[in-house]
């Protein structure tokens, strides 16, 4: 990491969010780096709220979110994806009666240069663009093992596959930052393996910065070299898996006082990344 004017792909700077009198996020400072970043915490801690600020659904009451150094609040929600930030949702937001390919194609939307008039008259430049886009999407689906399902109705796929489709959609947008909201929830072990393999490829080849909200502690600690723990809107701990699982504050808040007594060391284990 160069230490000049090092801009992190994504950073939260003293972020505060409140709804009415309810303070949801208080003084959140995080500098996300390329690679797998874990974001954990009990329900209601504010994790999804962070994502919602980044998507533009929610305004920060104080502080800022910076994408590659640029203040996100300067960007309209619909302009954010073209600046390199993409996300998935806790329950996949997909058009169920459209094909998998069509859903993934939505991720390419901001990359289309030719407008809808050329579309109406079926001009070659539009058709070429459409073909190129479909190639990209098909390659992506192949990467995640869904190429055979490309032209199936999305509603026919299992929940696990649907979530992977949503990840594909987010990735074809060529983001620098990808936010994943509980990507492994509801996925079987095979799906998780496929998902991680694909994500790892993007991290290694493109330096993708991933922020993963997860509840599966074992999963998070096995893939994320750095984890942030959120509790009642504040970061209570951050660091490598070993660090946070042996942090007494985290243990008490998240895992319960009894855990400290029961656990032996060896939590987190090998850096599988």
């Amino acid at each position: 990491m160069n230490t000049e004017t090092s801009t992190f792909p994504l950073s939260l700077d003293d972020l505060h969010v409140s709804f009415g009198g309810n303070r949801v996020l208080e003084g959140v400072d995080i500098n996300f780096v390329p690679g797998f970043n874990g974001l954990i915490g009990p329900n209601g801690a504010g994790k999804t709220t962070i994502f919602n600020v980044l998507s533009g659904y929610v305004k920060a009451s104080r502080g800022a979110a910076l994408l590659d150094g640029k203040d996100l609040s300067d960007l309209k929600p619909t302009d954010r994806v073209s600046n390199g930030i993409s996300r998935t949702f806790q329950s996949p937001k997909l058009i169920l009666d459209a094909t998998v390919m069509e859903n993934v194609l939505l991720g390419m939307h901001h990359r289309f240069k030719h407008g809808h008039v050329t579309e109406l008259f079926r001009l070659p430049n539009h058709r070429n663009e459409e073909d190129r886009a479909r190639e990209t999407c098909m390659d992506m689906l192949e990467e995640f093992g869904l190429a055979d399902d490309a032209h199936k109705e999305t509603g026919d796929l299992s929940l696990g596959s649907q979530k992977i489709v949503e990840v594909c959609r987010a990735l074809v947008a060529e983001p620098k930052v990808l936010l994943l909201d509980e990507p492994a929830a509801g996925l079987g072990a095979d799906d998780v393996t496929v998902l991680l393999k694909g994500l790892r490829k993007f991290v290694d080849e493109k330096g993708l910065c991933l922020v993963i909200i997860e509840h599966d502690l074992e999963l998070v600690t096995s893939i994320c070299p750095i984890i942030y723990v959120l509790h009642f809107g504040r970061i209570i701990s951050e660091g490598s898996p070993e660090v946070i699982t042996s942090d007494p504050i985290v243990i008490e808040a998240y895992l319960g006082k009894g855990y400290a007594a029961e656990s032996n060391d060896g939590q987190g284990g090998n850096d599988a990344v």
């Binding site: 998507s55 533009g56 659904y57 929600p77 619909t78 302009d79 954010r80 994806v81 073209s82 930030i85 993409s86 996300r87 949702f89 937001k93 997909l94 058009i95 169920l96 009666d97 459209a98 094909t99 390919m101 069509e102 194609l105 939505l106 991720g107 939307h109 901001h110 289309f112 809808h116 579309e119 109406l120 079926r122 459409e130 073909d131 479909r134 190639e135 098909m138 390659d139 689906l141 192949e142 190429a147 055979d148 490309a150 032209h151 959609r169 947008a173």
Partner: protein, 375 residues
């Protein structure tokens, strides 16, 4: 034979279609239907249904109405059925087409000897070439459609419906104000105007109206098919089904709702032009809420969101209307009841019957048994 496009590993980019004729089913159906309809004026059939008897002027005229309503229905379908936006100003946009072309193409001076000052406002206009007025009026209606849709950004479904309903009525009211408001408008207020009928290659007024209507249906049909099968279609579906996720995808739901409004306005006006040529007379009362209800019936009975829905709905509607034209009261009762019945029983319209049939348990059972037999 077109080559199948694939990616580098050989996976097809487009849903694979069976080779040959079978793969072109939809296209074939469309060509056959429109071809058939194009030749109808010279094929005297349907004698057993007087209303659509192509041997008579009455029948042809009714068919022309069917096409005009279906064309308007396609635009409406695009807005409500496909993009899920509740814009109910369609009657007003239809009126813009009908009145617009009537006014613009009417001769500036009454040409008949017997014209008096009383008759003149009913026929006077700007004398522009008819064919030119069509795109003008349609684009104008598209713009008005966008303006009408402006509240779309802020209003949730049902409020938008009421707002656009009011706006549609406002448009019609403005048309009927005429001289008091703006004497250049030449709408002749509540009395209505005669429409200068345009004849194609001297084929007679009736055939001209017929082909104009059929043409407008064809154009809207083609536009609908192209857009729904391509990027605009899936973008609109995303606005309809997953609006909350559209922002992070870079899709502005407001922008696309406005596009849908504009396109529906264009279609409505095109249909209106054709309708006016068929009716030979335009009058504000023809475009009141009643028309909106008719269009809704066409849409819902035929099938919301289905390609052939508007045509089916228009056929049913014109049939009922002509069948009961002697007893207006019964007619409106039937229309109202038909709408209610449609919502209660066939929410997806007649066009969905084939789907419902094939989805029903009975047919699924049959299919399973058939497969078992094959094995």
């Amino acid at each position: 034979m077109a080559q199948v496009k694939t990616n580098s590993s050989g996976y097809p980019l487009y849903p694979p279609k069976p080779k040959g004729i079978k793969g072109q089913q939809k296209l074939l159906a469309a060509i056959l239907t429109f071809g058939f309809l194009a030749f109808l004026p010279w094929i005297p059939i349907f004698g057993w249904i007087t209303i659509f008897d192509t041997g008579t002027n009455y029948g042809l005229g009714n068919l022309a109405y069917v096409f005009a309503y279906a064309a308007a229905g396609i635009g409406f379908n695009f807005l409500i059925g496909y993009s899920g936006t509740l814009g109910l100003a369609h009657a007003g946009l239809f009126a813009i087409g009908a009145y617009g072309s009537a006014i613009l193409s009417a001769p500036p001076e009454c040409l008949e000897q017997t014209c008096e000052t009383i008759v003149r406002p009913a026929v006077s206009g700007y004398g522009w070439p008819f064919l030119l007025t069509i795109p003008l009026v349609c684009f104008f209606a598209a713009i008005v459609g966008v303006v009408v849709g402006f509240p779309a950004a802020r209003l949730k479904g049902f409020y938008l419906a009421i707002a656009t309903l009011a706006l549609g009525e406002l448009i019609v009211k403005l048309i009927s104000l005429d001289e008091k408001l703006w004497s250049g408008l030449k709408t002749n207020g509540g009395t209505g105007k005669q429409v200068q009928i345009f004849e194609f290659f001297g084929s007679g007024q009736l055939k001209s109206a017929y082909f104009l209507s059929l043409g407008s249906l064809l154009i809207t049909f083609i536009g609908y098919v192209i857009y729904t099968e391509n990027r605009l279609g899936r973008t609109l579906k995303s606005v309809r089904d997953i609006e909350i996720a559209t922002g992070p995808l870079g899709i502005s739901s407001t922008y696309y709702k406005l596009i849908a409004f504009g396109l529906s306005g264009f279609c409505a006006a095109l249909a209106g032009v054709a309708w006016a040529q068929n009716s030979a007379f335009v009058n504000p009362s023809s475009f009141k809420t009643r028309l909106l209800v008719f269009l809704l019936v066409v849409l819902i009975l035929g099938g919301l969101g289905k390609l052939w829905g508007p045509l089916i709905g228009a056929i049913i509607f014109v049939y009922i209307r002509q069948e009961f034209q002697d007893s207006q009261k019964l007619l409106f009762f039937l229309i109202g009841t038909a709408l209610m019945v449609a919502i209660l029983i066939l929410p997806k319209g007649v066009a969905s019957l084939p789907d419902r049939f094939s989805d029903s348990r009975w047919v699924q059972d049959l299919r399973r048994r058939f497969k078992a037999m094959k094995v």
